[in-house]
């Protein structure tokens, strides 16, 4: 049963990265869109994420609940020593969720919109940044549970080059996912081209940040290189991801969106696989050399059983409904032409 629970944890992190990531990315893209296209980007993006954002963001909650029910020691170690980045990420989540809703549902459209937009776009950037920082710091081996000073216990675990570069890497991935997603949602050729260019730019940025991550790891003596390339699975995943990048570039010139999305999702999946595979089942590496392992930190038998069953039962309800939601709005939005969507009154 423990393996089922771990599978769900991994899947919900992946899905949060993919769906929530595309969601954040929409805001990041808006942040880097010229003023004259902002309006349109906002509209296209809202049409795509409006019905889904609450559901996308549930993956995070599921991951948190799995952690605190199934692996309480891991959850509490992270909450104590990564308190500050978690707090900053939370601020981002609050700001983003509310600003998105406010700007859509404010009955009067006036100058307030500028404020909502600003909050929305900046927090779309900040939230994945800290998400990445948190992820990076769990494997950087800098979390010091024995530190005596404030900085040692609560800052130096995450405020390092490596976690921060992972943060930026996450931001670029989100932008990339959103751009790819929006290619399919855009309703005219000019827009499609715009998002094609954006997805290429963000992919380049992601590759660049990926290199930075390796450089930072080398600088801070984190053996990332051997983690990734030291075992066949890592090498295979990197090779497959690189191949898919090339394929993606070729397909980017052609119409059609499903293969592009698949490839983008595949790339993210490989990245997550590479970064978690070497350590599995350890997920938090501490400075004192002790590792928090999913298998060792699991709670008592009965808890794991109950959690596993709750997740299985839950997905029987959720997955069909979720697929129908996505499918239904995909079908409906395809029939609508820009400017006529009734939901935008």
């Amino acid at each position: 049963m423990i393996y089922i629970v771990i599978g769900y944890l991994w899947a919900s992190i992946l899905l949060y990265l993919l769906l929530g990531g595309a969601d954040f990315g929409a805001g990041i893209i808006e942040l880097f869109t010229s003023r004259k296209n902002k309006e349109k980007t906002q509209h296209t993006a809202y049409k795509a994420i409006g019905p889904l954002w609450e559901a996308n963001h549930m993956w995070l909650i599921i991951a948190i609940v799995i952690l605190f029910v199934g692996f309480p020691a891991i959850y509490t170690t992270m909450s104590v020593h990564l308190h500050i980045p978690l707090l900053l990420m939370l601020l981002g989540i609050i700001a983003r969720g509310t600003a998105l809703t406010f700007r859509h549902y404010d009955a009067v459209v006036d100058d307030w919109q500028t404020l909502y937009r600003r909050i929305f776009t900046y927090s779309s950037f900040v939230t994945p940044l800290f998400l990445g920082i948190i992820a990076g710091s769990t494997v950087s081996g800098q979390i010091d549970t024995e530190a005596k000073t404030f900085a040692g216990a609560y800052l130096s675990g995450w405020l390092q080059l490596f976690p921060v570069s992972v943060g930026f890497f996450t931001v670029t991935i989100c932008g990339f996912l959103a751009a790819v997603y929006l290619i399919g949602e855009a309703t005219d050729e000019a827009d499609k081209t715009r998002y094609r260019i954006k997805s290429r730019v963000f992919q380049n940025l992601a590759i660049f940040c990926g290199v930075l991550v390796f450089a930072a790891a080398a600088y801070e003596h984190i053996p990332l290189w051997s983690w990734v390339f030291g075992q066949p699975v890592g090498i295979a995943a990197v090779a497959l991801a690189s191949l898919s990048v090339i394929l993606f570039r070729i397909l980017l010139r052609r119409p059609g969106r499903q293969p592009l999305r698949m490839l983008a999702a595949f790339q993210i999946c490989m990245i997550l696989l590479v970064t978690t595979y070497h350590h599995y089942p350890d997920i938090v590496l501490l400075k004192n050399g002790h590792h928090l392992s999913l298998l060792e930190e699991q709670g008592q038998q009965k808890t794991t059983e109950a959690l596993g069953w709750a997740l299985i039962l839950g997905s029987l309800f959720i997955l069909p409904a979720l697929f129908y939601l996505m499918y239904a709005f995909q079908m409906k939005s395809r029939k609508k032409v820009y400017g006529q969507a009734t939901m935008h009154e």
């Binding site: 609940v65 020691a73 959850y75 104590v80 406010f102």
Partner: protein, 445 residues
């Protein structure tokens, strides 16, 4: 402000904020479903407009409820790591089921808010009902988690070790049923009176009377029925508390000395040093009668409980008085309302009745906050009743007072914006809903 107190205040603030939005998220879907049903059945445009106007307001509340809930799921660990380390695996069952309920709610909400004119009309209506049902389910589940803190069950505790964990037993602990029942009814009272009050005010002002009357009638029906049921459920809760948490009951009643024929103490200023209540109205033997249905029954006072385990008496006592007082006022308003209807008078002509409803607008929510203060402060100094002290659960990280300050600012500004947006929604009723807009399609189409 010391860090421990800051952590408690931040927790209380976050929960107090979240509860408002979650009550609305649980209850409004039912109001909308009724109004929506009338529209689909009768084709009367007013009901469609009410449903639409409500759904826009609710979307704002939902988003705020969702983010404040997300904050809570992190805060449990950020503020109370030692508690979560031991409690997580035991009381986690309701949270893991709640995940499903939230998810279904979020999915159904996507269909409901964005599905106007896109789906079969009854399917669309049904997704609205699903939002309500899954909202109620998640409310019941979280309250089960809270009830476990009041009545820890489903494990064996010896020398700091928690063994033999049984998450199912933990979920269905003794306090669960009475608390969940009381909370769900409270959500209907609070949301119902708040919504009814706003629409009553607009009727009084003579604005869009048909629209606001329709809205008022639906909200008032739910509010008044729930208000009449609430004292019954409160009585169950009180007797339950007397049985499982005598210290909390004694604090609620400011009942310092164990005695038979215990009086019911109303109002007054509890003096914790001298162990007496000054200037209070004391109704002889009533407390014994209420708790045990026997005027001669002995009710345990604070003197039977070690000093170190006393909850703060004054806060608990005042909060309890506020809850019950407001509850009784709302019962009175409800009775008057039914009296008017029974006499076949038009409630709309009774301006005093409408004024009473306007007066009651915030009362349900104040009662909810007060009730939670009773439950949570009355449980002190324990975080897990009788097992773990709150002081031992708090995070070792210093500087929580800054984070408390930060969150206070955030919640303050969010509240201001939400109120401002709601005000704009209501102001726009004239423009949006007075004339049938051409963009709205007939559901038959």
């Amino acid at each position: 402000m010391n860090d421990f107190f800051a952590a408690r205040s931040q927790m209380a603030l976050s929960l107090g904020f979240h509860i408002i939005f979650s009550c609305i998220g649980m209850v409004m879907p039912f109001f909308m479903a009724i109004s929506h049903y009338y529209w689909l059945r009768t084709g009367d445009v007013v009901f469609r407009n009410v449903t639409r106007a409500w759904s826009k307001g609710v979307a704002i509340f939902f988003a705020t409820g969702a983010v404040s809930g997300t904050v809570l799921s992190f805060e449990l660990g950020l503020l109370w790591p030692e508690f979560m380390k031991h409690a997580g695996p035991i009381f986690g069952m309701p949270f893991s089921l709640e995940g499903t309920a939230f998810f279904i709610e979020a999915i159904a909400l996507g269909f409901f808010l964005y599905g106007w004119d896109k789906f079969n009309k009854w399917f669309h209506w049904f997704t609205g009902v699903v939002v309500g049902i899954s909202g109620l389910a998640s409310g019941i589940l979280v309250v089960a988690a809270n009830a476990w803190m009041n009545n820890p069950a489903g494990f064996t505790y010896r020398d700091g070790v928690y063994s033999d964990i049984d998450p199912i037993k933990a979920m269905f602990n003794d306090a669960w049923l009475s608390q969940a029942l009381h909370m769900m009814v409270a959500a209907f009272v609070a949301t119902g009176f708040a919504v009814a009050g706003v629409h009553a005010l607009m009727v009084l002002k003579g604005k869009n009377v048909r629209f606001h009357s329709a809205a008022f009638r639906i909200a008032a029906a739910f509010a008044t029925i729930a208000a009449l049921l609430q004292p019954l459920s409160g009585d169950i809760s009180a007797r339950d508390v007397a049985r499982r948490q005598p210290a909390k009951l004694a604090a609620m009643e400011a009942h310092f000395h164990t005695e038979s024929r215990a009086p019911l103490i109303i109002g007054g200023i509890p003096d914790e040093e001298r162990k007496e209540v000054r200037y209070a109205l004391k109704l002889p033997a009533l407390l014994s009668l209420m708790i045990d249905h026997d005027p001669d029954a002995v009710v345990k006072g604070l003197d039977q409980i070690p000093e170190a385990d006393h909850p703060p008496v004054a806060v608990t006592h005042y909060a309890f008085q506020v809850m019950v007082g407001l509850g009784m006022f709302m019962v009175a308003v409800s009775i008057l309302y039914y009296f008017i209807i029974w006499k076949k008078k038009r409630w709309r002509d009774k301006r005093w009745l409408l004024k009473l409803f306007v007066l009651a607008t915030p009362m349900g929510f104040i009662a909810v906050e007060a009730g939670w203060t009773v439950t949570e402060v009355g449980r002190q100094p324990w975080i897990i009743y009788g097992i773990m002290r709150t002081r031992d659960a708090v995070t070792p990280m210093p500087g929580i007072s800054y984070s408390f300050l930060l969150f206070s600012l955030i919640y303050l500004s969010l509240s201001v914006i939400v109120i401002f947006m709601l005000y704009r929604q209501i102001r726009m009723v004239d423009k949006l809903y007075d004339v049938p807009l051409p963009v709205f399609k007939n559901p038959e189409a």
